[in-house]
Symmetry: C2
Subunit: 608 residues, 2 copies
Amino acid sequence: MNILDKIDVPFDIKKLNKKELEELAQTLRTQIIQTTSKNGGHLASNLGIVETTLALYYTFDFPKDKLIFDVGHQCYAHKLLSGRKDSFDTIRTGDGISGFPDRNESEFDAFGAGHAGTAISAGLGFCSARDNKGEDYFVINVVGDGAIANGLNLEALSASNSKPNKYIVILNDNGMSISKNKNGFYRFISKKTAGKGYVASKRRFVKIFGSSFITRWLISVRDFFKRLFNKSDYFEKHGFKYVGVANGNDVGELIKILKSVKYTAQHKAVFLHVKTTKGKGFDKAEEHADVYHGVGANLTCETGSFANTLGEKLNKVIENDKTVVAVTAGMKDGTGLCAVEKQNFQNFYDVGIAEEFAVTYSAGMAAGGLKPIVCVYSTFLQRAYDQIVHDVCMQNLPVIFCMDRAGFVGGDGKTHQGVFDLSYLTHVPNIKIFAPTTLKELELMIDYALELGCPCAIRYPKNAMCEREVLSVKDNPWEIIKNGDKVTLLAVGPRMLQLALDVADKIHGIFVVNARTVKPLCEKTLEQIKNTLIITLEENSVIGGFGSTVCGYYANKQIPVKVINLGVKDRFVAHGSVEEQMQKNGLTIDKITEIITNALGETNEQKD
Amino acid sequence: MNILDKIDVPFDIKKLNKKELEELAQTLRTQIIQTTSKNGGHLASNLGIVETTLALYYTFDFPKDKLIFDVGHQCYAHKLLSGRKDSFDTIRTGDGISGFPDRNESEFDAFGAGHAGTAISAGLGFCSARDNKGEDYFVINVVGDGAIANGLNLEALSASNSKPNKYIVILNDNGMSISKNKNGFYRFISKKTAGKGYVASKRRFVKIFGSSFITRWLISVRDFFKRLFNKSDYFEKHGFKYVGVANGNDVGELIKILKSVKYTAQHKAVFLHVKTTKGKGFDKAEEHADVYHGVGANLTCETGSFANTLGEKLNKVIENDKTVVAVTAGMKDGTGLCAVEKQNFQNFYDVGIAEEFAVTYSAGMAAGGLKPIVCVYSTFLQRAYDQIVHDVCMQNLPVIFCMDRAGFVGGDGKTHQGVFDLSYLTHVPNIKIFAPTTLKELELMIDYALELGCPCAIRYPKNAMCEREVLSVKDNPWEIIKNGDKVTLLAVGPRMLQLALDVADKIHGIFVVNARTVKPLCEKTLEQIKNTLIITLEENSVIGGFGSTVCGYYANKQIPVKVINLGVKDRFVAHGSVEEQMQKNGLTIDKITEIITNALGETNEQKD
């Protein structure tokens, strides 16, 4: 029986002594490593926060008090402690628990998250609700040092110069925002080692002047001036008492500090700065916390094939044209840009978790004569929708967006699905949208987008499954991969194309089209297939994306056609395997075969 | 001949002496007031910045140096000085110049803007481009104290702890962000009156100790400690030299300071803080700068009819249910919430120009048990697309969005058109979307949305033009206003409904439908009209919005229909009158009549 078995309800944590708490931390860590080895997930971030989570549970009363994680990728210990230890091994799987906080899953998950920057806003919202309703509880945010400088968190910190009582922001500072943190705001606050600095300078005084009257006098003069000039202190001016820096991996120390913070917070919001070690307790993850941020099953850290190709391609492009620059927002490993960082550092920009800045900064660079290529996951580029509309497309600036993780993402689940990009981009004037199915196609599209010199978006999932010779995108917007007569499958992206080919293997006479330019549509092909039953296939919402535009095209040309849109149904797609996610959305060989058979039957009947 | 006539090219400004510069400032101000009286526009912000603009032109060399305005609503003096004085009286009109900076209009407009928060990102982008290309120029941002705390600007300020040389951010501090600025970050930096504070405390020392040796010694000790503790100074840690506070309405003082800033900026980026008076030189605007922020022709400040109704309705709702709260992001006058601020201050939140925070904060309040109603213009809510998806809709939280200025906005032009909201919202799961045509309908929709308890968006233009009795929205999603047989006009919003009624007056037998629930669609009506020619009318992109969803509905039910989507074509809509904007997009009685006649002709032919 391990010590975690003793924790039936969170209150049981409060009964443990320091030694037992340390043992529990070790057990949680082992459990996290074991389960992540099996199911994949966020490793380094979850290992670092174990003791802080324990100390929080020891000090506060959840779910009465509200614990809100930013990004949510550090909630595993929290889940293990809040009634989900028995289902923990199902994490990220089809019918299992989510890898992120989810209000539907547990009342301990006060606010769901998967994107960065939301915690402080949500926390302040809870405080307002509590005070409005005359309720009484603590609201606690746990925010990483990468996410703290996201615009949304900065807006929330800044929104007022006062903050509510019983509100605590814990900065989980491991010096990494996925990769090493070079953010200015972070550097600014990371130097605020008030506690330590105070003690150190006292020691210096004693060293110079000895432990005399003059020393004490000098210290008091120093304190006077400190008060005089610290008026402008950032946190005080924003309504917080600042406490720090505490060792976030020392559960005993943390409990002491949290008790005192809890007392202080009765009358003033507290900003508590704790230092943790990302990947703590797992040597490889500690050493390479960036690489071990998110891992696959068996703790593999393979880069996607599209990402690898992108990195190599951009290096080639930059070596020919130094005005091309690669920009990412804290995702250099996942997008493949680490290769560019290595080989062409001068043309590489990682702006941290600040997608909006990444886009408008790129718009500025484009206006100044560069050719920026912004590489951000599909789901995170949602953050910069207005910057794409207002700064890039309205000014028709040559910014290229490379959107990795488009479509279904499997275990990461609903917060990470890249299933809206076609819908949030297709209606934006001036942009062109591409979806490669092979690695070579991605390269051709980058060349073509650079040639076009206008806003372009290229979207693709982690891996290309298709391999074949491809034609130039410029001369052949869509590729007819297989000729047919009665039915056309218009497929966007590699998985949909493979699905279409699989269906065409089963039913004779199907056109299979690689609809690789989503905007503009290929009118030539659309005219060619207008007398067939058309089925659009996309890993994107059926609303407002590719299929929807195809319907609109025919309607407005007043060409009577039969079009069926398959894609992501109008609901959020939970975690599970990509296959399960495709199945739940009717994107299977059987389902499509059935649809075709029924539709052709009806068509025949109508003809009779 | 006035002094502005002497300014043929910007270089001419450099020849003026201080008195002439002051005279020119006066002339510019008169011109701005006169033209705004005629054409409407942004008055108070443009009056405040006149001297700063003049001093910038005196000191720098535009367009070689790049001048980038945040929000862009303070560019009138800049336009008058950069070759556009002769076309200035056409500002905001159909074929005239834009009320905002526009790269297509002039090489002096380095970066276009109409939304807040973009300048620092764009400025840093220009610096990177300049340095990459080995060019040599200054990049200057002018940012208001409201916009400085927008998340995008904060991300840009924070992105790195170093900043490029020859980069200057000017904080145009008039203490207003449309209305009075209560932002925490602003309060924090507004206290940084380094220059003044320094002088004042020196005076205090002299007053207490006299001008003696001990005074000088104390001052030097003070300076020592100041250096010791000011290490953590916000601007220094973010890579700027901070200079301030200067009087931004004193052209002589400003020129002196800018010369020195220009020298300093050779080696270090400078953050220059200037205080200006919003509405300077026009008494009413100085006194009521919030009201005179943006005005109509004849300097009228009338609130829209929907906004008036919203304010009154929310007051009624709040008085019945104290868990309802009204939230806006610096738009309390335009959205009508000033009425709520007056009557129900406890339930009113203006978070400043921070749309993302407004939405996630509301999501937090909803999770905590409140019913937030977020009132933001359609175009500005684009900023919070991901917060709507990830924080509100994914958690199915009862947040209601009231989107004023949906559809065409006239003179404000392309940055302000509310023509994408249906496209960026319709594909988001869990949300319901409404478009009232009468004031009563807005009230009914708010009641219904509160009853639904899920994410809801209500979108409407400034004024309701329709007046008639309306049925409950709950029981009758769409209203058939006029019965017909061969043709159906499905209209969204008051202007489109009026247009439909006007067409129906000309052609006999037309169904006119008030399609007031855009999501979900009214299947009952769609079934009823499926045998008619259907024309959808919306003030939104024809891609991904209402019409597109109607096409998708029929396609996926495999119901063969004739649908034509009318709405905003796939390009940005420039400034002009709403009538011109409708005409350019084919939304006129004549055009629709023609389309119907042609389509019916074809239908008849096909039947023959």
